[in-house]
């Protein structure tokens, strides 16, 4: 922890970055995102197993971009999201400065290539509880699954915490907010909720880095991350590629390749 703070202060003092984004202790000992712009603010940084948030979400926000270059204390999920953001041309390589822990040592990862290399050493298996839940859902009949999601989504109030906490939901004009024409009902009724969550899951198929942030962000505890996890797993199975592993990735669902194994496309 001291090494991390020291590195953060060093980066700020040298002027390499304008802010260090990490975690701090919040209400009732939870962990919250924390922007340190002064050495005193660096002292509030913590990093432990309670830190879960995917901080890559902030890197595409106007207010954060305005700060200048930001160093990010990056968990593996944050690193994956960052690689995917580079692949989708939302971040430039020279905007990258990640602080990753390697044992007790702090590594500064200054480029997409460095992040790729660092991540290759990590395993990022889906949490067992989520995996088990997806298996349980897949073992259900279609009617049972339908009933399960109807029940879960009935609690949705369309606060969009799932969308706004997602590092890959960076669109400035989200289809959900589009009113000319209005593609999806704004109202949080059964149809509006279902359409929203279906669109969200499909839009993240092949792009979800499986951080689970959407599910954690949901104030009413709907496991919405299972939808995007499943969409990502299906894409990985069918197209042989995963989001968040490389700075160069063609989006599986919108890329044409002459050597595609399907014949209908030729």
């Amino acid at each position: 922890m001291e090494a991390l703070k020291q590195k953060a202060k060093e980066l700020l003092q040298k002027g390499d970055v304008k802010a260090v984004l990490g975690y701090a202790v919040g209400t009732g000992n939870v962990r919250r995102p924390h922007f340190a712009r002064t050495p005193e603010q660096v002292d509030r940084l913590v990093l432990d197993e309670k830190c879960t948030q995917n901080l890559a979400t902030y890197l595409t926000k106007h207010e954060v971009k305005h700060l200048g270059k930001v160093a990010v204390v990056a968990l593996p999920a944050t690193q994956r999201a960052l690689l995917q953001l580079v692949a989708e041309r939302q971040l430039r390589d020279d905007a990258i400065c990640l602080l990753a822990m390697d044992g007790t040592e702090v590594k500064v990862l200054p480029s997409g290539a460095a992040v790729e290399q660092h991540l290759a050493l990590k395993t990022d298996a889906m949490p067992t509880a989520d995996k088990a839940m997806i298996e349980k859902l897949m073992a259900m009949t279609r009617e049972q699954r339908w009933a399960y999601w109807q029940q879960e989504l009935s609690r949705c109030v369309k606060c969009y915490a799932c969308r706004n906490s997602c590092p890959m939901c960076y669109c400035e004009h989200c289809t959900m907010d589009c009113n000319r024409p209005q593609w999806v009902p704004v109202a949080s009724h059964a149809l509006g909720n279902l359409e929203y969550h279906m669109v969200r899951a499909m839009h993240l198929a092949g792009r979800c880095v499986e951080c689970g942030e959407c599910g954690r962000a949901c104030p009413v505890g709907i496991p919405v991350h299972l939808l995007t996890f499943f969409a990502e797993e299906s894409t990985a199975k069918q197209f042989g590629q995963r989001a968040g592993h490389s700075t160069k990735l063609d989006y599986a669902l919108s890329t044409f390749k002459p050597d595609d194994k399907e014949t209908f496309i030729r």
Partner: protein, 335 residues
């Protein structure tokens, strides 16, 4: 001064039965997968034993997340309009906290300000509140900083405070008396317990009148930008808030028919004040965050002579990035 009685646990069982027999649904905090939800219950045994607050507020009883205001059908040359009627169910809210009970006053201020909203009023009329005093508070609570208290009676028709063997029951309003009249034998004479000794102790965190007085001079303060930097601009805070009253009117229509809906909205959303011209007077998240504070602590007192915040802390608990309202208000008060 309220009439004070004792309501034993057994008699509360009886009261629930009597209320349901009277045709009212009873909504109360219930434990569900680690969350506390407001659900329909039959018996007090179903009510959560350890909750501080429900996640969502009870506001949707009077101000649902989606309300149909009217519908219409169109044929060549004619339109037929149908007024919607509120589907208001007789409801008893049991176990809401004093902060939340008080919050209905802040909703009332808007829905009956320059126009009497028939949907809100129809629902409010059929609702009664049996509040339960808090015996504990958490780091998100700050009712005592905004003129409330863990055993405050305002907004409750009957306020219960836990005592040995049951509750101290204060019957406060005509609606409360009507509930008592359904089964007067269940309310036994009180024994003069001092509820202040039982209620949670919560120190005042900031001087609210002083904060309200200084806010107009703080519009350009850098504080808002710093506080809002981690805000992700979702609507969780507004949607769990018992006083947030903003709504959006949506039209769902096809060439033959349509309906007009009132849906919850949030000042945290980037499109909340977006003009048709493309101009947005609250272009940044910090401007939107400042709006949230000002609306509750400056505009509300100015316009309605009350606060738009009851200090329940639901926003803090629901926030995915832990925007702690109490902490931010303390910062503003000290700025």
């Amino acid at each position: 001064m309220a009439d004070t009685f004792k309501l034993t646990h057994e008699n509360l069982d009886g009261l629930f039965a009597v209320l349901r027999k009277d045709g009212r649904r009873v909504l109360a905090p219930v434990d569900a997968d680690g969350r506390t939800e407001l659900n329909d219950v039959e018996k007090p045994g179903q009510v959560s034993k350890s909750y501080i607050q429900t996640i969502m507020s009870a506001k949707d009883v009077v101000f649902p997340k989606v309300e149909r205001l009217l519908s219409y059908t169109t044929e060549p040359g004619s339109v037929e309009l149908h007024d919607a009627e509120p589907h208001a169910l007789p409801t008893v809210l049991f176990g809401v906290r004093p902060c939340e009970a008080k919050a209905f006053g802040a909703l009332d201020a808007v829905f009956n300000w320059d126009y009497r909203d028939k949907f809100f009023n129809a629902r409010l009329e059929k609702m009664a509140v049996i509040g339960v005093s808090c015996t504990k508070a958490d780091d998100a609570c700050f009712c005592t900083s905004v003129g409330g208290g863990p055993a405050d009676t305002k907004g409750s028709d009957i306020l219960l405070t836990p005592i040995d063997g049951g509750y101290l029951a204060e019957v406060l309003t005509d609606k409360g008396k009507a509930i008592q009249a359904l089964a007067p034998q269940l309310f036994t004479p009180g024994n003069g317990v001092d509820k202040a000794m039982i209620a949670a102790k919560l120190e005042q965190a900031f001087d609210q009148p002083a904060l309200t007085a200084k806010l107009p001079g703080m519009f350009e303060n850098k504080l808002w930008e710093g506080q809002s930097l981690r805000c992700i601009g979702c609507g969780a805070c507004a949607y769990v808030c018992p006083t947030c009253v903003c709504f959006d009117i949506q039209e769902e229509a096809d060439p033959k028919q349509g309906q007009r809906l009132r849906c919850w909205d949030s000042c945290g959303f980037s499109m909340f004040t977006l003009h048709a011209s493309g101009h947005n007077p609250r272009e940044t998240q910090s401007a939107r965050w400042r709006q949230r504070i000002y609306h509750k602590f400056s505009t509300y007192p100015e316009r309605y002579q009350m606060l738009g915040c009851v200090g329940c802390g639901k926003c803090t608990r629901a926030c995915p990035v832990d925007m702690n309202l109490r902490e931010h208000l303390v910062e503003a008060a000290n700025a």
